[in-house]
Symmetry: C2
Subunit: 174 residues, 2 copies
């Protein structure tokens, strides 16, 4: 496994269904092909390991901060981190930024309408029906990044175009 | 930084004041001198980063499991992990064991009387006075490991003797 010249944390944030995981997986495939040592951290996977994690602000923040701390440690030891989490709160994302050396915040921007129209996991439908509470974009806020390193507009751009832009942006670290 | 032949997680468990951190620091110094890439995770440090972590069973378990997950990831990427946590519950420690490939549970065994007599941080005094609740050994249980890879009896053994035994035990991985 190859170490990059400069390890970094690629942090995908955005609404549920915006395309975070899809994009992170694309970058993972690229890094894998190039032989780089990386770790893939994903919201759904982590919540699967820690099912008691709730969705109120305190619990979300604690969760994201814990993941961010972990990302920072992996980066410190030369591992590239690809993290995809809704991470709706600015404060928690900024905590993560401070724990990392090279933090690349990728705002995966898609309109709520587009995400809801896709509704791959059927979660928006449940949220609208009141079967899920504290759902980001519906009854819980999403705080847009103020100064993200990258903005990916998945309403207008194909996955391939978006992935290409991210791959271009990380070349200087590899 | 050198990678070991086989990465591993050295997990120190035991009462507050049993000598976990002191021992882990000794091993850290040894690995550092030998040029190995390792990470030191410590209960006090982690609780400093995540001050809202409480002391009831649910919160302790969640905390230890999160740390254990992180230890497992670091190990996976070739980093030796030295973790010192009271980690009083068997179930949480077993969760960590399952997340790691080479988990070495070091039971730092010291009598409550000895730990209380040392009381380096003055915590036992506070716990006896009822100023701290849910204190392991006083009003919260410590579940001894059933099959620890190593037992270190710090009542009878010097720090140097204990460290020597641990260093001998990890040679096969280095």
């Amino acid at each position: 496994m190859m170490k990059p010249r400069t390890p970094f944390v690629l942090w995908f944030t955005g609404l549920s269904g915006s395309g975070k995981s899809t994009l992170a997986d694309k970058i993972a495939a690229y890094l894998s092909e190039k032989g780089f040592d990386f770790e893939r951290l994903d919201g759904d996977t982590l919540r699967g390991v820690f099912p008691s994690t709730g969705f109120n602000r305190t619990e979300r923040d604690e969760h994201i901060q814990r993941v961010g701390f972990m990302a920072g440690l992996l980066e410190k030891h030369g591992v590239i981190v690809l993290a995809s989490f809704i991470s709706p709160y600015r404060q928690a994302r900024d905590f993560v930024r401070k724990r990392c050396r090279n933090f690349i915040e990728v705002y995966v921007k898609a309109s709520l309408a587009a995400c809801e129209a896709r509704d791959v996991k059927g979660l928006y439908k449940k949220a609208r029906a009141g079967q899920i509470r504290e759902f980001t974009g519906i009854d819980d806020p999403y705080e847009e990044p103020n100064h993200p390193e990258l903005v990916i507009d998945t309403d207008d751009e194909s996955v391939e175009q978006s992935a290409r832009r991210i791959i271009d942006a990380i070349q200087k670290f590899l």
